[in-house]
Amino acid sequence: MNQIFNIRFKIVYICIFAVFAISAVAFPAIIYLDAQRVTTIVESNYNYIDEPLLVCKIENYIQTKGGITLQGWFAEAGKEIKSRKCYVVLKSLDDGTCLQLPTKVVSNSNAKAYFKDGFNYNDAGFSSTVQTNYLQTNNTYLVLILYENDGQMVLFKTDQTITAGQLTKQYGVIL
């Protein structure tokens, strides 16, 4: 076999070993940080949409270790979901900061039952998780939806709030 590199085998071996050993830890860590990417947005950068046909229902707040998962659905009457770019935004009613959380599209049949118009709203469901360390204790957060409408990101206001650190009748302890 023709030796084409004048580098010692041992050095290359150790380098490759080190790269993969580090990657084995770093890759999952980066994926974790990427998946939970909570960003702060400026509310004034977006327009609010006032569309009576839009409906958003937050159906569940599930407490997990160190996080709160919001589950629900979001749809416009008579418009099937073809592609979706949608985030949950938690707006603090105390200081006005807005946290943008990524969502995952989940199958949900409740929108279909709600509208009863024969359209397919199966992909209207969403699930989103925020780690509690992002929320300020005793702050009340208004739930907003940031979504892509005709190529523009717009905000939709829901009537639902969550209060970090308080017992609520509907959902139990949030923090």
């Binding site: 076999m1 994926i31 073809k82 592609s83 699930s127």
Partner: protein, 448 residues
């Protein structure tokens, strides 16, 4: 009797066996489902070729050459497709065989025969037999055939005039497939650099490279591809636009390794076994032995998990990687498979380094595996990652087959002399598995 023995011992006997098996297999194939039944077979007679190509170009796909062949092949008598498909399979055997100068040609052809037959043939029926083979298998085979031109350049063998035409047509068809285009571009560039470094002329490789680049530009600028992407997002992955770059890499990578770690993936098992075997032949260093056993350990842990219902630690360690998203990222054990998969790739690379040392062979094998893996990881950037099913793994399978043959090629002497029995066990077991696989497919042909 002697004549029969002579035929059996002939180096081309594996070709005959392959033909026979494929003939029986194709005899039972019925074209009853898939894209050709639903759409492509109805084009000829209803639309002119120009109308069809124009609508495909603007609304669906850049694979105009491939789909032109597809509409005619699916329109004609099915035995035309069957004959061509068998011929293409034999061309894989020929092309791989041509690329390696084994001393024992019979051993080489048997090895290639076994490895090619271990490829799960049913993967080539997932979008319909004719549609899948013309879109995936045929470009791959023609691409592989193109690589024999590189070998001819390397060995200073004169390319005949009609071979130039065949290579030209082969590149034209193969580069029309996005995945094969990437493979061709990478391998041709690799060897063009190799010939430049060695101050050797490779004009025809430059021409083939230019053709491939032209087709890549055509693919990237085709309006139909973006129209199709929008349609496919709505159909298969509505939240595709929500995925970040890393999400897509993660999905492409983990989905690929998930499939390769499933217990029925014989090609990967054989690759890892032979790799481990070569490391044991090459060195007595216990650390290197340990690293080479890691891939096999991971495979067998995964196989074990499919046979046990017990919820123990071993099972948790052998879980397939699931998509990580906004709904589950906080579940820490979901990251364990990713950790294991990176270790798997790392240990394969380190073991290859041990057997090839810092040579051109190491570079070539790493490059081929890297390109093969990239062709599947890139599927993470398509909304049809899951819808395209296992057929998009074809190029990675062939990369593993190439690297397996390469290992046996380099260690042929040692396989033949000092470790004959072990080698026969090593090839006998895969051969048995391969036969079971083929028999299983034939028995289940009604489900095809």
């Amino acid at each position: 009797m002697n004549k029969a023995k002579r035929i059996y011992q002939h180096s081309l006997f594996p070709y005959f066996c392959m033909f026979l098996i494929l003939f029986v297999y194709h005899y039972f194939i019925q074209i009853t489902f898939g894209d050709e039944v639903d759409y492509f077979s109805k084009i000829v007679g209803q639309y002119s070729l120009g109308e069809f190509l124009s609508s495909q170009y603007y609304e669906w796909s850049s694979r105009l050459l491939i789909e032109t062949v597809l509409i005619y092949v699916s329109y004609w008598n099915v035995w035309i497709w069957k004959t061509l498909n068998i011929a293409f399979y034999l061309l894989i055997l020929y092309s791989f065989s041509y690329l390696f100068n084994f001393k024992n040609k019979r051993l080489k052809n048997w090895l290639i025969f076994v490895l090619v037959m271990l490829y799960p043939l049913l993967d080539m029926s997932t979008a319909g037999w004719i549609a899948t083979t013309t879109n995936y298998l045929w470009p791959l085979v023609l691409g592989l055939y193109t690589f024999t031109a590189i070998k001819k350049y390397k060995d200073n063998i004169k390319i005949k005039w009609y071979e130039y035409i065949l290579y030209f047509l082969a590149v034209l068809y193969a580069a029309n497939s996005e995945q094969m285009n990437v493979v061709l571009l990478s391998i041709l560039s690799f060897y063009i650099i190799f010939f430049l470094v060695n101050k050797k002329s490779a004009i025809f490789l430059w021409i083939m490279e230019a053709l491939t680049v032209a087709e890549l530009v055509f693919i990237l600028t085709c309006p139909g591809n973006s129209v199709r992407a929008v349609a496919e997002i709505g159909r298969w992955m509505p939240d595709f636009h929500m995925l970040s770059f890393l999400d897509k890499v993660y999905l492409g990578f983990t989905d690929t390794i998930n499939i390769f770690l499933s217990s029925s993936n014989y090609i990967f098992i054989i690759f890892c076994s032979i790799l481990c075997f070569c490391v044991f032949i090459k060195t007595k260093n216990m650390w290197h032995h340990f690293i080479s056993i890691i891939p096999l350990g991971i495979i067998f842990t995964h196989c074990f998990s499919e046979f046990t219902e017990k919820n123990n630690y071993l099972r948790q360690l052998s879980l397939s990687a699931l998509p990580i998203d906004a709904s589950n990222y906080f579940t820490h054990y979901l990251y364990v498979p990713l950790f294991i998969y990176v270790l798997l790739i790392g240990s394969i690379l380190l073991s290859m380094l041990v057997i090839y040392d810092l040579t051109f062979d190491m570079l070539l094998n790493t490059f081929v595996l890297g390109v093969g893996l990239a062709t599947r990881i890139i599927m993470g950037f398509s909304p049809t990652l899951y819808a395209s099913n296992t057929r998009t793994l074809l190029f990675l399978y062939m990369a593993f087959i190439f690297c397996t043959i390469f290992m046996v090629y380099r260690f042929e002497e040692k396989f033949n002399n000092t470790n004959k029995n072990v080698f026969f066990i090593g090839t006998g077991i895969p051969l048995t598995i391969s036969s079971i696989n083929i028999i299983g497919i034939i028995i289940n042909w009604k489900n095809v």
